[in-house]
């Protein structure tokens, strides 16, 4: 017995993507965030801005629309076997939005002169990107339901 009416059912989901793409992209982002944490002040803000721009691309166009997605398609995927399963593109896209909010806030505060915002935002985003790349865990997605609960309480 099944219940195909649910919005969560894969029936009405958009076309699947290779689940390894977002994880490779998260790995590249994690390396960039480590660079942010290693560099001195003006340079670290510039690299963080690159990360923010990448997350903005991903939030608008989906993970496949980022330059990390292009790197995966051009350099990594040709060396791998075909994916055994496809993934819904919406969860990783939501993760990009969460990354954009965290790093974007850090960048904004840095531009207003709050210097410690850069390492703090980079460290938080690094935890999320590392978990995504190594464990396949999407931290923002795990917290999504908490957000829905809070929003409905406020409404």
């Amino acid at each position: 017995m099944s219940n195909p009416q649910s919005a969560a059912a894969p029936a009405d989901a958009p076309a699947g993507i290779d689940p390894r793409g977002p994880r490779v992209g998260a790995g590249i982002t994690a390396v960039l965030l480590i660079v942010v944490l290693l560099l001195p002040s003006p340079a670290s803000v510039v690299v963080l801005a690159v990360v923010v721009a990448s997350f903005a691309l991903g939030a608008v166009r989906g993970v496949g629309g980022t330059w990390q997605g292009a790197v995966y398609r051009r350099l990594v995927r040709p060396r791998l076997a075909a994916p055994t399963e496809l993934e819904d593109p919406r969860p990783p896209r939501f993760a990009q939005l969460v990354g954009l909010v965290i790093t974007g806030l850090g960048l904004l505060l840095a531009l207003f002169g709050v210097a410690w915002a850069v390492p703090v935002a980079a460290a938080l985003a690094l935890v999320a990107a590392f978990l995504n790349a190594v464990f396949g865990l999407c931290l923002g997605c795990e917290m999504y339901l908490l957000g829905v609960r809070l929003r409905s309480r406020a409404a």
Partner: protein, 158 residues
């Protein structure tokens, strides 16, 4: 040097979170049997216990057990769990599976204190919630949960 230590610390924290998360996924938590027994014996059964009916989940209950999966749109493990439970239910005609979106069933989310997706409630033949599976669930997890179904009480419907 301090920066390197900081990065190492951040990655260590992330690894700890990841290992904890992975170990927790699919773990079955049964409702305390004494609570179930007390609710069963109460004169106002089923009101004294947490019970779900076919109208609430939008599908008939399984004669042995029903998996009520609560999923969200942004959840990749939900899709895999959905496929696992659908396969299991297709093989056993005494099981049922429904997959509900949390944004459309916030009442259930609140009532059962669901904090993450997927969370799968396990219902006995009467619809009494006897336990839950938290997080992405594989076949092994689901079968282990079924093994721990309590023996149905005499008051159960046939």
């Amino acid at each position: 040097m301090t920066r390197l230590l900081l990065i190492a610390a951040v990655l260590a924290v992330a690894t700890a979170i990841g290992l904890w998360w992975r170990a927790r996924n699919g773990r079955y938590t049964a409702v305390d049997p004494t609570v179930l027994a007390a609710a069963d014996a109460a004169p106002d059964f089923p009101a004294a216990t947490e019970q779900l009916g076919p109208d609430e989940i939008g599908a008939p209950l399984g004669s042995r057990a029903t998996f009520v999966q609560l999923s969200s749109e942004v959840c990749a493990p939900c899709r895999r769990t959905h496929a696992v439970l659908e396969t299991l239910v297709a093989e056993h005609d005494d099981l049922a599976h429904v997959d509900l979106d949390v944004t459309e069933h916030l009442d259930l989310v609140r009532r059962f204190h669901v904090l993450r997706t997927p969370t799968t409630l396990l219902l006995d033949p009467r619809g009494v919630v006897v336990g839950r599976l938290s997080g992405g669930t594989d076949r092994h997890h689901a079968l282990a949960a079924l093994d721990r179904l309590p023996v149905t009480s005499p008051r159960s419907t046939p």
